[in-house]
Symmetry: C2
Subunit: 354 residues, 2 copies
């Protein structure tokens, strides 16, 4: 099983990506293909892991930066690490792809090269939120910033199938993220989505308020990509800010002078629980392939964990399971197996530039 | 100086409201008028504070519940505690109004009875977010769930004047809450608002990500009321969830067996810092009167603090300062003083029902 890893994406690329890939290759005993500019990645591989048979390199001389317009970048930079890496999933050359690069470009390139699963209107990025006893799946967290109500129903379907197929949760409970429990609460999108979800055959339990997001009241929480991303970043930021607050309390309050050093490991254990890098990345659901989007600020540990997540997705055949799930859901005889490489695509990469 | 307090609004009304009002009257030495159904409030006053000269009661036999449609409720329940209480601000009978009732009804009733300040398109609810060294003003946190880009510029103006007039911050830095630093990041509303803010005469420093919201990078953070409310509730919920997480870490990890009891007061000090009830309420800016919206889950302490906030707003003449600020901003000779009671209104309460 081969995992393709974008060596050029993220704030700390390529060094931290190469380091994370080396760690994952050693620990997980999985074959990893780094995709990136040979001129810069080759020396790093030589430096950190000179003779590693589990690591190889595929040249992709172009880089898409997060500042570029996704659609334009994807169309003009066919030999970028994102395009080359995702393209490796099509003939089954790789089983999953990991990138900490431009989210917009990854989503656009995935839809273009791999195609959307039949029944999916918009692919969505998902994340598992820790709850006191388990976790909830939140989606979309950034693929679609402007949504129509029908998209949110589609996200709920994606989430339902993912929880059923990957975590064996039967008929998962679905909640709509909004600003109040009553059905008319929230903005126009929420109010209209609420109606559609209620009329669907999903196990829709109603609205979930932001304050209840981490309480584990439902298995799947749906929202538009702007709100989902905002919520995620607020949680992430608050996790970091909490340490400043504790630091301030522990140093300024004389009551805690002697005990302060004892709290350090407690805070450490807490940090580990909130730390996004422990989870590694967010699966992009709804495309014909296993794509994991890692955080732009990923360092080697986060990349290593994202590769683990990709490895697990490939082992569990998540993309195929999603195809099957949608086929069952729409109750058709849509043939779902081995479809990954057969999907027709408008864009075909036939040769590399000189 | 008289503060009118809605005795019927909030999850724990009327008992906790009455208790909070009694505490505030005792500690702050301010005159408080409870507004609510005489039949239920009078016995509570008798029970908890039989002969308090600083507390009086104005009868308002109707109650608006949070489930009711705000506009309809405001138009049909003219003798509700919200309508009667806000109406007391018009002739200067009270200097500020506090309510933990339906946010929608408070906003609608305020706009209707007090009128919007000249230059304000949409009033906004504001909250001070604690930062490591100071605070930032976040608005709107719930008055306008569906916004146009121009509204966000208006919120920025409200925030700027509030910070200048109330906190003496010169030319406050304004940030737009969105999902990335780059100007094209975020949803359509954010991208269009960014352009308008950039072209305005405000001290606009750019986009603020959710993760940086508590870092104090700007003085005023603008967002639509849906996103603002969501962010606020996520922070609130996370504050509560954190305790469950710590509880779990402290009890399940044997390393912390001995330090666990010592950690309790640290958590307590931290809780106090995050506790919304310490702040009490959120001012509604942009209407011709000092209106403070308290949390629906307010208990007596939160109500007491909301009354303090209202008292401070009345002392500082916040509503008048906002009128002056807008008048200066639009550079007209708009007469701003003593305007509170002169504003013409479409709805006039002339007599009480039998």
């Amino acid at each position: 099983m081969k995992i393709a890893v974008d060596a050029m994406g993220g704030d700390y690329a390529p060094t931290e990506i190469v380091k994370g890939a080396i760690e994952a290759a050693q620990e997980a005993k999985t074959e990893i293909v780094l995709v990136g500019n040979k001129i810069v990645v080759q020396p790093l591989l030589q430096e950190y892991s000179p003779a590693n048979s589990q690591l190889s390199l595929v040249d992709a001389p172009e880089v898409i930066s997060p500042e570029e317009h996704p659609t334009k970048a994807v169309r003009t930079k066919r030999y970028s690490s994102i395009m080359v890496g995702i393209n490796m999933l099509r003939p089954g050359e790789a089983s999953a792809f990991v990138s900490a690069g431009s989210t917009g470009a990854i989503v656009t390139a995935s839809a273009l090269l791999l195609g959307k699963i039949k029944g999916v209107e918009r692919p969505a990025i998902t994340i598992l939120l820790p709850t006191p006893t388990s976790f909830s799946l939140l989606l979309d967290v950034g693929a679609n910033v402007d949504c129509k109500p029908a998209f949110l129903v589609n996200f709920a379907q994606l989430g339902k199938i993912y929880m059923e197929k990957v975590f064996n949760i039967k008929n998962p409970r679905v909640g709509l993220l909004t600003t109040g429990e009553e059905k008319m609460k929230g903005n126009r999108l929420c109010r209209e989505s609420h109606k559609l979800l209620k009329d669907s055959n999903l196990n829709f339990v109603g609205n979930i308020e932001g304050k209840d997001i981490a309480r584990g009241l439902v298995d799947v929480i749906v929202t538009d990509g702007f709100t989902g991303n905002m919520v995620l970043k607020v949680i992430e930021g608050l996790g970091e800010t909490i340490f400043d607050f504790f630091e301030q309390i522990l140093t300024s309050d004389t009551r805690f002078q002697e005990t302060a050093p004892l709290f350090k490991p407690v805070l450490g254990a807490f940090a580990k629980k909130l730390d996004y890098s422990e989870q590694g990345g967010a699966p992009l659901l709804g495309v014909n392939g296993n794509v994991i989007i890692a955080h732009g600020r990923s360092r080697s540990k986060a990349i290593k964990n994202a590769i683990y997540l990709a490895h697990r997705a490939a082992q569990l055949k998540v993309a195929e399971a999603m195809v099957n799930g949608f086929a069952e859901q729409v109750n058709t005889s849509f043939p779902s197996r081995n479809k990954l490489s057969l999907k027709p695509n408008r864009l075909l990469i036939t040769e590399r530039p000189e």
